[in-house]
Symmetry: none
Subunit: 289 residues, 2 copies
DNA sequence: ACAATAATGTAATAAAAATACATTTATAAG
DNA sequence: CTTATAAATGTATTTTTATTACATTATTGT
């Protein structure tokens, strides 16, 4: 299933439309990929008979942040079927080829998010959750289901929680919010007008607003705390939104943090929830919730 | 000599007899190995609170020729799957430690799903979607948001689609279904009584039922096609459900397959959807949907 | 043939890693 | 309990490596 050497085969593909100098770089890498993972940019430039910046540009064109990053990805691609580069879905893809690509794109988004999250910020968010009297999750469009998922997750705590996708309802609840209320606003772009206004309304009411959104977006600016996710999308029209997976996992992290913070205190509450579900199952050992 | 796999476990081994400063380095690397593979020696030295030469000596002691070589070997060791040794969340975990653990658990779930999916089955599912006159997504509990997410995704196609979380609604729609109708039923356990009965009702009405659920479960048996996900036990009480991420990505795969199958035919439909959203944004370049 | 643009290279700068060497800390002998 | 000795660690410097800014050279379309 896992096609090994995806980066490599990508290099070899003639359809790649490399420029002359870049083709030389590709050839030089292909001639001895293992060596390349341990080369300096100068050595590779020399063996490809091009200048060093050309090598650097070549790396960036292939999605790396620079030469060292490229070497790392190349090494991984050699070791275990590449999952970083060339996950673009093409029109001639079939189920066996696009299935791993899409999973890889999702995995990549999570890896990127994992490495960009600031634990201190998470800590602050958990503080706010623990301190709150009531929690709302707001999302529209694709982020609506994320908000709802969060509701299920946070339902385990004793704090009242609800998720809302309807813009009017969101607006009304924001306007009616009070100090001690905590609003999570989830938006990939952070540019949905209604949600930004909702954030402002809530803050006017002295509620706390935490957004999960794009860096430097209007929503991020309008929030008390903003967890910004830059998953980097839109490059491939066939690749679906991976940001919601990052949002979901991020909310998992926050919920887990709250659970750990609360310690054993809430366990009886949880037991009641589990018991209430038992009768809806064929077999009560496992559960969806 | 240092084979890739042994590097990580070597670090974790207490028997290693590291000196004080070297132990700090080992701890810092273990705290976030993925990040280390992309760090500079200065960054790692700082996070371990030691000097840079100490890090360098540490690397050499472990058989690398220097820091870059060490990073390379570390990356390879991570790629070979040694990274999940430490992913159980413990009560004394704090934000910096449990955050990567949870992301890793999610990533692992996707990797496992990626490698267990049968592309032929996906192909059949896409056939059914393309052939269908109407599509329903049913889920309860945690799978409810997944169904809703799928609705957003499949809305792009011309086939009428709706998601339902209410058991009564699901039952009624299943009973009223007709040949040409396609029901996706999403359930992690495949043991929710209501959903299994719904599947039977729908098949009695000659609709097609595709489930995304657990292997060998009652729901899987009650379906025409079952995509079974075995993400693994939730052995750790603090680790959240990762199955829904696998479900979501799987539905991404199916939707992408349908898109590719339909080719350009549906593009005008998509353009209209995009246009309808433009006025709700501060900046119409990006979008949530 | 000539602008406009893209591609590539040169030279300078910044960043990273390794080295030489100084200082501190631990150890063991008297 | 010193004090010589060795081991460990850190500081400052040099060397290597990577990136950037900018100049030059090709390429393309009119």
């Amino acid at each position: 299933m896992t096609t090994p050497q995806t980066l490599l085969s990508n290099l070899a593909k003639p359809a790649q439309a490399f420029s002359k100098a870049e083709q030389k770089v590709a050839d030089a890498i292909l001639a001895n990929p293992e060596l390349t993972t341990r080369s300096s940019i100068a050595r590779l430039a020399q063996s490809a008979e091009v200048s060093e910046p050309t090598v650097n540009r070549f790396c960036k064109r292939l999605g790396a942040t620079g030469f060292p990053d490229f070497k790392l990805k190349l090494a991984l691609s050699l070791a275990s079927g590449a999952r970083f580069i060339n996950s673009a879905v093409a029109e001639d893809d079939t189920a066996p080829t696009f299935t791993p690509k899409i999973f890889n794109a999702s995995i990549h988004a999570l890896e990127k998010t994992r490495d960009s999250i600031d634990p201190k910020l998470i800590h602050h968010v958990i503080d706010e959750v623990v301190a709150s009297k009531r929690i709302y999750f707001f999302g529209q469009g694709n982020s609506g289901p994320v908000a709802q998922d969060a509701e299920f997750k946070f339902f385990r705590f004793n704090t009242p929680v609800s998720a809302h996708q309807d813009p009017l309802m969101q607006r009304m609840l924001a306007a009616a919010s009070k100090p001690g209320d905590l609003l999570f606003i989830i938006s990939y772009t952070g540019r949905t007008i209604g949600l930004v206004e909702t954030a402002r309304l809530a803050r006017d009411s002295l509620a706390t607003v935490i957004s999960i959104t794009a860096p430097a977006s209007p929503l991020a600016r309008a929030s008390d705390l903003a967890i910004t996710l830059d998953v980097g999308e839109d490059t491939d029209e066939y690749l679906p939104m991976t940001s919601r997976l990052a949002q979901l996992t991020l909310l998992d992290v926050i919920a887990t943090g709250v659970t750990l913070r609360q310690g054993q205190a809430h366990l009886p509450h949880l037991a009641r929830i589990k018991a209430s579900l038992a009768s809806t199952r064929f077999d009560s050992v496992e559960q969806d919730v």
